[in-house]
């Protein structure tokens, strides 16, 4: 079974190279790229008006044809392209589509497309209708985005699930490990000017160190005192609140991007369009997941970790140093969670609540796969990621998380041990 999962992961790796985008950025905005036959069109004035008629902003497209208008809240907006500012020889493909009504959802950065065409090739009236294949294009695009999200959830879920398996702790402060990773990377990248890749490495090291220290000086001590599991769960909530609002105190309430790679032009691969950073991020995520998976299966420490997760008392009596294994799990779990945080920061923006917001999805993934199993967490997370993105075909984007959380509740009803979990674990 586990080999099958590894094989499955490797297969996904291949798939990612074929396929590719993050559509879930924090902070509502309207944006787009003006292109005419593949060439960016700059200097075009685009203005945005809110539903009640109050003007929001007017911007001019940049040299790469991109424009972006942040809006303060979700709602309906009117986007107008000033046709007089179009370069000569270029016009709107559909003359009557100079003003578009668009709906912006909570946390959505809505892409607005103005179709341009060389003068003389324009249609006077109706759009010629979307082709039937566009549904499949959308499915492919959403599948790609789902894998992207699922892999980030999986990175976070690995640590959470292993900590639960070895210590029984349901750690509500795990999301803050992600936020820490993203914030550390932001500090080095945007404030101190270190390149992002190096910052990410530093953030991972900091995350690992924080995981180690947390276990050494906090959770380990509590276990020694004999604190009960429910007490530790509520303590983890206290810790989560404490850390989250320290982040708010230091970072402020707004969402900010990293200094690099935040306005990469998208590339088209088959039916999927995404920025190159997404392909690379997915490759890194998959590589890390495969490495952790192989380490769990092949190395002595990995085998010991699985033994402890299975039955701590039995593992201890067969000579495994349980405390040491738990320490390693916390360190690796912290490092991997920090990496997930950086990736999440790259896909959306960095915000003090990002960890908490994804934590519930991580729980959904972990429960779906089976609490306490490392590979279950992986499968469950991918399913959750795919489900969230694909559900936007039917439900509004702002409610996509709701669907995933509903699935979590349904899993509880019909298969509480999850996909790979075993019945006796659920008590």
């Amino acid at each position: 079974m586990r080999r099958a999962v590894i094989a499955f992961t490797a297969f996904l790796g291949g798939l990612v190279l074929l396929l590719s985008s993050p559509a879930w950025a924090e902070g509502e905005a309207l944006k787009g790229t003006l292109q005419n036959q593949g060439q960016p069109v700059n200097g075009v004035k685009i203005s945005v008006v809110a539903e009640d008629g109050s003007p929001v902003a007017a911007v001019t497209t940049g040299a790469d044809g991109t424009w972006e208008v942040p809006v303060s809240k979700a709602g309906k907006y009117k986007v107008t392209l000033d046709q007089k500012t179009l370069p000569s020889g270029i016009g709107l493909k559909f003359k009557d589509k100079g003003t578009l009504d668009v709906q912006v959802y909570e946390g959505n950065q809505r892409n607005v497309l103005f179709a341009l065409a060389p003068a003389g090739q324009q249609n006077g009236g109706n759009a010629s209708g979307e082709s039937a294949s566009s549904v499949w294009d959308r499915v492919a695009q959403l599948t790609f985005e789902g894998f992207n999200l699922g892999l980030i959830i999986a990175l976070a879920a690995m640590g959470l699930s292993l900590v639960f398996g070895t210590t029984g702790l349901t750690n509500f402060a795990h999301g803050e490990l992600l936020t820490l990773g993203a914030m550390a990377a932001y500090l080095f990248n945007a404030v101190l000017g270190v390149p992002l890749i190096l910052s990410a490495v530093i953030a991972v090291v900091i995350g690992g160190a924080f995981g180690y220290l947390q276990d050494r000086f906090f959770w380990g001590q509590l276990r020694k005192r004999g604190s009960s599991l429910v007490a530790m769960m509520i303590i983890s909530i206290g810790l989560a609140l404490f850390l989250r609002y320290i982040f708010l105190f230091l970072f402020g309430g707004e969402s900010r991007p990293f200094a690099e790679y935040n306005a990469q032009p998208g590339i088209q691969v088959g039916p999927i369009s995404a920025a190159p950073k997404n392909f690379i991020a997915m490759g890194v995520e998959l590589a890390v997941l495969v490495i952790v998976g192989v380490a769990l299966l092949k190395t002595r420490t990995g085998k010991a970790a699985r033994a402890v997760a299975d039955n701590p008392a039995l593992a201890a009596s067969s000579g495994i140093n349980v405390e040491r294994v738990i320490q390693i799990i916390w360190t690796v779990g912290g490092a991997v969670a920090a990496l997930a945080g950086v990736m999440l920061g790259l896909a959306q923006n960095i915000n003090y609540q990002m960890g908490f917001q994804i934590l519930l999805l991580v729980f959904a993934g972990v429960t779906l796969g089976g609490l306490g199993t490392a590979f279950g967490a992986l499968v469950g997370s991918l399913v959750v990621g795919l489900f969230i993105q694909l559900s936007t075909l039917v439900v509004p984007t702002e409610l996509k998380t709701v669907g995933a959380l509903l699935v979590l509740i349904l899993v509880m009803l019909f298969r509480p041990q999850g996909i790979l979990g075993r019945r006796e674990r659920i008590g």
Partner: protein, 329 residues
């Protein structure tokens, strides 16, 4: 530093709207967590569903106030069943995860653009408290002792709120002295033992969840009426964690501890918040802290307090260590 203002607001906080709302929510949590050992981390959703039930009936559909209250109560009971049926047979942490997820679902639906016509999106709902204030027996003016005064509207809300708290406390006292309460406490201590005596554990847990939710939902009504408006983000997960902190601060499984806990909690929070704001305003910290950061200091302290309480004094002020349901099963 204006110590007079700090003093007045702090004293007002001890019986103010927040204290009433959180005391009611915490009495509900106390029934669920303190007496029955159920980890319901979605208490905010119960208050939210009740408050929105009232607000939507009155302001969206223009129907009567009492129908709104009834709809709010029914919605709360339905939510309790929806949460309880899948999870009450499972281990404690599953209920915790599902309830926290459900609370987020409820909040996201309330603030969604798709249901803006019904729930009002992130702006919430207003204009539903008119009938309630029309029943106000207090003449316009201010009521109180010395500088501690409330206007007639606040006095009315607080009167109703404290009557509800008193009734809830009496109810909890009577219930927990009854055989029903003893079964509930026995379930917390050892579920299997109770089952072997032929009791339907699932049904008792469900009753506790519903009862705790309904008492909590009274807090939701008071919250909405006291502010004369509701927004979805009032009912975030932090609300529930505040209520837990209050229960643990007062001492779980004691009748009055949620009320005393709520008063102490808000006195401390308001005192610290106001003193810090004043100190920042007076430039005591120089540029180290700005006024906007004071809000986060509050939460940092709550998180720290929750951790320290559970590590060093899990029974809180009045509790009994042997009566705290902290063993997972």
């Amino acid at each position: 530093m204006d110590w007079n203002t700090i003093f007045v607001t702090t004293v007002k906080a001890s019986i103010g709207l927040e204290t009433v709302v959180y005391a009611l929510a915490a009495i509900g949590v106390n029934i669920q967590f303190g007496y029955a050992g159920l980890l319901n981390f979605g208490q905010a959703a119960f208050l939210g569903v009740a408050a929105y039930g009232l607000a939507v009936i009155v302001s969206t559909f223009g129907l009567s106030f009492w129908l709104g209250i009834a709809v709010g109560l029914v919605a709360t009971v339905v939510l309790a069943f929806l949460l309880g049926i899948p999870t009450l047979r499972l281990r404690a942490d599953y209920l915790a995860i599902v309830t926290i997820a459900a609370a987020e679902i409820v909040r996201l639906v309330f603030r969604s653009v798709a249901f803006k016509d019904v729930f009002g999106g992130s702006d919430g709902r207003q204009n539903f408290s008119g009938d309630f204030y029309a029943m106000n027996p207090y003449a316009p003016g201010s009521y109180g002792i010395g500088p501690i005064k409330f206007d007639e509207r606040t006095t009315w809300v607080l009167t109703v709120g404290w009557i509800l708290i008193a009734l809830s406390c009496v109810l909890v006292y009577l219930l927990m002295k009854s055989p029903w309460g003893r079964v509930l406490k026995a379930i917390r201590e050892d579920e299997d033992a109770v089952r072997s005596l032929g009791k339907n554990v699932f049904s008792y847990k469900m009753q506790a969840l519903v009862l705790g939710g309904v008492i909590g939902c009274l807090g939701g009504f008071i919250f909405g009426l006291g502010q004369a408006s509701i927004q979805p983000d009032l009912f975030g997960t932090e609300f529930t964690f505040y209520a837990y902190t209050i229960v643990i601060l007062g001492g779980a499984a004691r009748v009055f501890s949620p009320v005393v806990g709520a008063a102490i909690f808000w006195v401390l929070l308001v005192f610290v918040g106001n003193t810090l704001s004043e100190a920042v305003g007076a430039g005591v910290f120089g540029s180290a802290i700005t006024v906007t950061q004071v809000g986060s200091v509050r939460f940092i302290l709550v998180g720290l307090g929750l951790m320290l309480l559970l590590i060093f004094r899990p029974q809180g002020i009045f509790g009994d260590k042997r009566e705290i349901a902290l063993d997972a099963r």
